[in-house]
Amino acid sequence: MLQRIWAVMQKQFIQTLRDRRTLMVIIALPVLMLFLMGYAVEIQVDHIRTVVVDHSRDQRSWSFIEALENSGFFDVMYYVESQDEAIQAIDEGQARAAVVIPPDFLGAVERGEAQALVIIDGSDAMTVQSAYNAAITVAESYSVDLLARKLERSQPGAHGAALQPLDGRIRVLYNPDMKAIIFMVPGIVATILQNQATSLTAFSIVKEREAGTIEQLLVTPIRPLELMIGKLVPNVVVAFVNMLTILGLGVFWFKVPFSGNIWLFLWMALLFIVSSLGLGILVSTVSSTQAQAQQLVLMILIPSLVLSGYIFPREMMPKLVRFAGDLIPMTYFLQISRGIITRGVGLRLIWSQVVSLLIYALVVFGLSASSFKQRLE
């Protein structure tokens, strides 16, 4: 039995290494993806191009606009005469936001009833979020500032700080600078591992079916389980090498801190790879061509990105949708890898995910072993 597994493995390794072009793609693609994500993905948007309509043109309006600009979120491009012109500038894509200041801003501020309108281009969710938060923060701190000065004038000696009844301080754990890359790397590792392991396995099995070699294999003494194991091992190796590459680049190039135990992480990655390979076998049993397998892998990839908690927090999802996410191995591994890489926790705090992943691997393998028939039917 071991000899037959070894025979399949040898064959698979030779085939993998001989197809240089595919191998290059398999190895280069994750690296490329990491660099793209590492440099292009920034959740926080700043330097938003802004136009200003200033109907007051007084000392207060200027200092307010200055405050907006100093926040770093808004770059004032130019001034226009009316709100319509400002909206037109956004329509034309000249600006992403506009600030409209009504006449007599100075007087309104003195009376304590000043208002400024901020118009934001809503076509990009990230910009809206950042501009919205920034505008509110700037306006709040600006008014606190004003209030303090006003008070100081009427009551010399009183300290401005006393005005603020509550001073909220936020401390972000594990990722104090809120760098996107730190948050992304565990997710990228999980996405790439799952996608590659699933598709490599599915393709290598479907390829035999497409070429007709499966018929020849089935009449040899090689049993389906032996064939499965022999085919999986080389794919495990390829996926593992890729995982180490991405992790290495993340830690040494992008300076993502690795807080937890590396060995624990590697064992978990292996478990995850094996579950993903099992998923690949399942895909292969229902597809008869590589094109079909490709579509199915894609059909798994997209829900994986959306439902696993990689992009959207799972806590907010309706029960049924969350259950769909439970069927994807990435969901568990994401929690495990964020736990180990970012938070540095040990097995004690992630054991439930580990057990889930283990059960998952067993179920998927059981299913695929029973559907992988010795017969052609």
């Binding site: 018929e215 020849q216 089935l218 003494p221």
Partner: protein, 321 residues
């Protein structure tokens, strides 16, 4: 049962067909016996059920009804034992194009449980046998069609099987390679006493078998030695060369004509006592103003017998309610 390698009794296998909206029997009650050391040819047109029969005997399909055994092993319960003692060459060329000739041979050897040393010993012999000794390092995908078939044959032989199943092994192969392939089979037969079960649509290959079965729409319509099959044809055969297809109609009406078959411009007419009738046939055609460029008495082959038998089968089918 000692002398028999393959025994099949009333095998049935149906598949669901979308075209006909129901189950269609690909193999509809086939019984046959193949003695050890014999070469049995299953002859029939595409879609007759040849490949299904092959796959049934190799345990790749489970029959709906009937029983069969290979080397005394049951095809349903003991198919793994059959796999160890037999070789099977599927219809589609099924070796690894991205492995070299030697790697392909060795992979199959290892799959059949040979040690690396045994492989190393047998590979050169097989390469020589298949005439591939100059290309052990060539990728299988870069071999010519004929060489691919020879490599496939060689890799099925690496574990010294007692019986081989060949599903249309010479399909799409040039005539020279086809002859070479059959010469290899003859060598195997003579040297190893190998039992060969072969499917082919080529009638001339049937002549090289000890026994043939004519398969049509899932049934064996005739079975026996090639000469026995030919003997099923009525009368003797006259070959007529004409340029006009109407000649066939004219001849059909001539007295004493039992069977007319057209092969392009060649007309094969079956009559009692060919020597006496040949003049009358030529005369009847020429009387209609059609030139006969050649006429001779010839020995009929399996092909003529097959065409005759299928035609008779169809007529019987039409008379059936």
């Amino acid at each position: 049962m000692g002398d028999e390698m393959i025994v099949a009794g009333d095998l049935h296998k149906a598949f669901y067909s979308h075209q006909r909206g129901g189950r269609v029997e690909a193999v509809a009650g086939i019984s046959l016996r193949v003695a050890k050391g014999e070469t049995y040819g299953l002859i029939g047109p595409d879609g007759a059920g040849k490949s299904t029969m092959m796959r049934l005997l190799n345990g790749l399909y489970v029959p709906d009804a009937g029983r069969a055994s290979v080397g005394g092993y049951d095809i349903v319960r003991q198919f793994q034992a059959i796999h160890r003692m037999s070789g099977y060459m599927a219809q589609r060329f099924a070796l690894y194009g991205d492995l070299t000739v030697a790697e392909n041979l060795c992979f199959f050897g290892r799959a059949y449980g040979l040690s690396a040393a045994e492989c190393a010993e047998r590979v050169p012999t097989l390469l020589r046998f298949a005439g591939l000794e100059r290309f052990p390092q060539r990728l299988a995908a870069r071999l010519s069609g004929g060489m691919k078939k020879k490599l496939a044959l060689a890799s099925m032989l690496i574990h010294n099987p007692e019986v081989v199943f060949l599903d249309e092994p010479t399909l799409g192969v040039d005539p020279v390679s086809r002859r070479e392939f059959w010469d290899l089979l003859s060598t195997l037969r003579a040297e190893r006493g190998l039992t060969i079960f072969i499917c082919t649509p080529y009638m001339d290959e049937a002549e090289r078998c000890h026994a043939v079965g004519l398969i049509y729409e899932g049934r064996l319509i005739a079975q026996g030695r090639p000469q026995d099959i030919r003997a099923l044809l009525p009368g003797q055969m006259v070959e007529l060369h004409t340029k006009d297809l109407r000649a066939a109609e004219i001849v059909t009406g001539v007295e004493g004509v039992l069977e007319v078959q057209t092969y392009g411009r060649l007309l094969r007419v079956f009559v009692e006592d060919a020597e006496r009738r040949i003049g009358g046939l030529v005369g009847a055609i020429e009387a209609s103003g059609i030139e006969v460029s050649g006429a001779r008495v010839a020995e009929p082959g399996i092909e003529e017998a097959f065409v005759y038998l299928i035609r008779r089968q169809r007529q019987e089918g039409m008379h059936r309610p």
